[in-house]
Amino acid sequence: MKNRIKEFRAKYDLTQEDLARKVGVRRETIIYLEQNKYNPSLNLAHDIAKALKTTIDELFDFRD
């Protein structure tokens, strides 16, 4: 599943560490998410969307 986390993170000038701390996960999880190697749980997807001031639909591409 593709996502636009990196794009939104850059928009708000957040580092991977900042985002990881905001949503309460390890930095590796953000790295793997941005590389599309990990599909998050609905809770985590919601938390990331909230931290990046967007919606899950905007952030994740469910077409795959």
């Binding site: 560490e17 701390r21 309460g24 996960v25 390890r26 590796e28």
Partner: protein, 145 residues
């Protein structure tokens, strides 16, 4: 965060305890002069556990120091999937031990048959090795379900 630091300290203490037991066991084995490869199997299990723990603590310590969680949903999934796969593979490993028992008995212990302790020890060592390999695989590259 305080809880994570406490957990990390407990893991470190357990690792040191396992290492101390392994050293004592080896010392005892040397005194008993067990001159076969099989005598190393009970030593191999703690060594694998210690190597895994040192690797694990080193990686987690930095995160905990920086105020990040020691565990999250991905790391829990990695451990769950590595454990599931290692259990599955260890079933085949146990089958291999029973099928090739004369070979293992001759090569490792210089005997004809394995006793229960040797078989169980070999099975646990195999499981620990599989777990370590799968943990590394899923943590680095594996696509998680």
């Amino acid at each position: 965060m305080k809880n994570d630091k406490f957990r990390l300290i407990i893991i470190a203490i357990l690792t040191i305890t396992v290492l101390a037991i392994a050293v004592l066991y080896t010392f005892e084995s040397i005194i008993m002069k067990e001159k076969n490869l099989g005598a190393l199997i009970p030593f191999l299990i703690p060594v694998i556990i210690v190597v895994f723990m040192v690797f694990f603590i080193k990686r987690r310590y930095k995160d905990v120091k920086e105020g990040m969680p020691m565990e999250d949903e991905r790391s829990k999934k990695v451990i769950t999937q590595a454990a599931a796969k290692s259990f599955y593979f260890s079933l085949y490993w146990l089958l291999a031990i029973s099928w090739f028992e004369p070979f293992f008995a001759r090569v490792l212990f210089g005997g004809e048959k394995l006793d229960a302790g040797q078989t169980v020890g070999g099975g646990i060592a195999g499981m620990a090795i599989f777990f370590f390999i799968f943990w590394l695989y899923y943590d680095k590259k594996g696509k998680l379900i």
